[in-house]
């Protein structure tokens, strides 16, 4: 089954053609990062206008690269939420109209479910090339961590009673989530505070390699109530206190001015160039901040894996590109005897291949969206851990 996936929940307009939920024929992503960079974040109306401008060409490109025409596609899958409502609507309305015109089925996909499927998709692709690679199994604990989300799930696959073992249905239980800022949001806000540019994640990742991660002790985040919840707001404020009224603040102002001047000349700062505008103290602060976030993400994921008695951990979402997170998660999982699975960078960030892959399993189970399919800004995935028993009795609920 050829599924055309469409994703427009945040700042990427993406389309992909995926065969049987496991072979990527094309995966096209048009990013708006340059459009948004000037504003230090995603600006919602800009985002929807850019999606509108790009969605047609991006879908055409996805078909062309896959070597198929729209008529060859068997079904469509589109992100219905969560995300920016105006951006989501562009994808959803386009997908519905296209499905109607082509007389093909369409199904809505939760963006977070897409991120989880990105890990499985990556694993299937890797194993197709090299069967020696360890299989990403269920049940597992998955951390979805990005600019908008920091959530831990237990993911289970029902193999079904009728021999449909290759088309399992998935069940998601939310074990914990951020109580304030998402991890990626903390990266963005700290980067903005220190005038390091947007998006904050990649730039902090690069600069941190030049700083001492143990220079500043931010302590550990203690959570009252659910120990699998996250909190990054206090850490962001702690960084603010280290900067405010100090030489670091003046240094950040100088950097802001320098970047502003560069932009006026139509130039962008190269990564190495940015580093020369950072004192060692700033680099140490950034490295310590990143290390604290990463340790917290890894620690709670492993605690979840242990209490859920699963044998592997998946990590996905834009922050899954962070090199320190990859290093420490894999190492900590190995020590604990767990498998640890990340998507490639292209599948970790927002993309439509993961939406097509997640949509495939819904379509294979006979799910179809009707005309009421619409976009949802808030759109929780799965059930909360407290409600798990009820859910197990109603797996299709």
């Amino acid at each position: 089954m050829l599924v055309l996936g469409i994703e427009s929940s945040c700042d990427e307009t993406a389309a992909a053609v995926v065969a049987d939920g496991e072979r990527i024929l094309s995966n096209v992503v048009a990013s708006q990062i340059l459009t948004h960079e000037r504003f230090g974040g995603v600006v919602p109306e800009l985002a929807s206008r850019e999606h509108l401008r790009r969605i047609g060409p991006v879908i055409d490109e996805a078909c062309a690269r896959a070597g198929v025409s729209l008529a060859d596609v068997d079904a469509l899958a589109v992100t219905e939420g969560p995300g920016l409502i105006g951006s989501l609507l562009v994808g959803v309305v386009y997908a519905k109209a296209l499905a109607e015109a082509l007389a093909k089925p369409v199904v809505g996909v939760n963006h977070l479910e897409g991120h989880i499927h990105a890990v499985m998709l990556e694993n299937k692709i890797a194993r197709a090339a090299n069967p020696e690679i360890e299989i990403a199994e269920f049940p597992n604990v998955t951390l979805v961590v990005s600019g908008g989300h920091t959530v831990l799930y237990r993911v289970e696959a029902d193999q079904g009673d009728d021999g449909t073992a290759h088309r399992p249905q998935f069940r998601y239980t939310r074990l914990g989530q951020t109580r304030d800022d998402a991890a990626g949001e903390a990266f963005d806000k700290v980067a903005k505070l220190l005038a390091l540019g947007y998006p904050g994640g990649p730039v902090i990742d690069r600069l941190s390699t030049h700083g001492n991660p143990d220079a500043v002790d931010f302590g550990r985040v203690r959570m009252k109530g659910n120990p699998l919840d996250f909190s990054f707001s206090g850490l962001k404020t702690a960084v603010l206190y280290r900067v405010r009224g100090t030489a670091l603040e003046r240094e950040a102002e100088d950097r802001r001015q320098w970047q502003h001047d560069l932009r006026r000349e139509g130039k962008r700062p190269a990564a190495d160039e940015l580093r020369t505008h950072c004192s060692q103290e700033t680099l140490d602060l950034i490295a310590s901040f990143q290390s604290t976030v990463v340790n917290d993400l890894v620690e709670r994921s492993l605690v979840a894996a242990e209490s859920e008695a699963v044998s592997s951990v998946f990590v996905s979402g834009g922050v899954a590109c962070n090199s320190l997170l990859r290093l420490r998660a894999v190492e900590a999982a190995r020590v604990q005897g767990l498998g640890c699975f990340f998507p490639s960078l292209a599948l970790a960030t927002d993309n439509a291949a993961m939406i097509a892959a997640a949509g495939f399993f819904k379509l294979a189970a006979g799910q179809r969206a009707d005309v009421t399919l619409t976009a949802h800004a808030s759109f929780p995935l799965g059930v909360e851990s407290g409600a798990r028993d009820v859910h197990v009795q109603n797996p299709n609920g």
Binding site: C10, R38, F39, G40, G41, V42, V43, P44, E45, L46, S48, P82, G83, L84, I85, G86, G147, G148, H149, Q177, T178, R179, D180, D181, A182, E185, K189, L193, G225, N226, D229, S233, G234, K236, T237, L240, Y241, R256, H260, A377, S378
Partner: protein, 164 residues
Amino acid sequence: MKQTAYRAGSVQATRSSSRRRLHDRVTHSPDETLALGRELATLLSPPCLVLLEGELGSGKTVLAKGIAAGLGAAAESEVNSPTFALVHEYAGRRRVYHLDLYRVESARELASLGLEELLTQDATIIVEWGAKLLHVDAPVPRFEIYLEHRGEGERRIRVEEVAD
């Protein structure tokens, strides 16, 4: 960085609004800020607009948690930062829309949020980085809350009720 099209308070002077100081409090921990939020919830009857203004890390989301929980719209743990999605909706015993204008830069973007529609509902609307809305005419009671850092852990929180 482009300055926003808004100037906090610039339109304020041109209109005859009456303003009443309800609280001027210093809290010493996130728990105290939460408790103040819960206390404020008892003053609010929907529809109403609650504007939260204060710099990064000054406790806006924590206060919003307390208000939403106090109204019975959501558990404290369900309320988190809407910076990414711009609008969170909590529909428990009462309905609360939790907005964040951190990333909203112009009047046009503001218009695209559909605030007018939210205001017609029987809901409490909490807005972080709310100074960007000071000039908006809202046909509902408005509360303005100013949060300031006062050293580590301490926040000064002023609450004003504004009637146009």
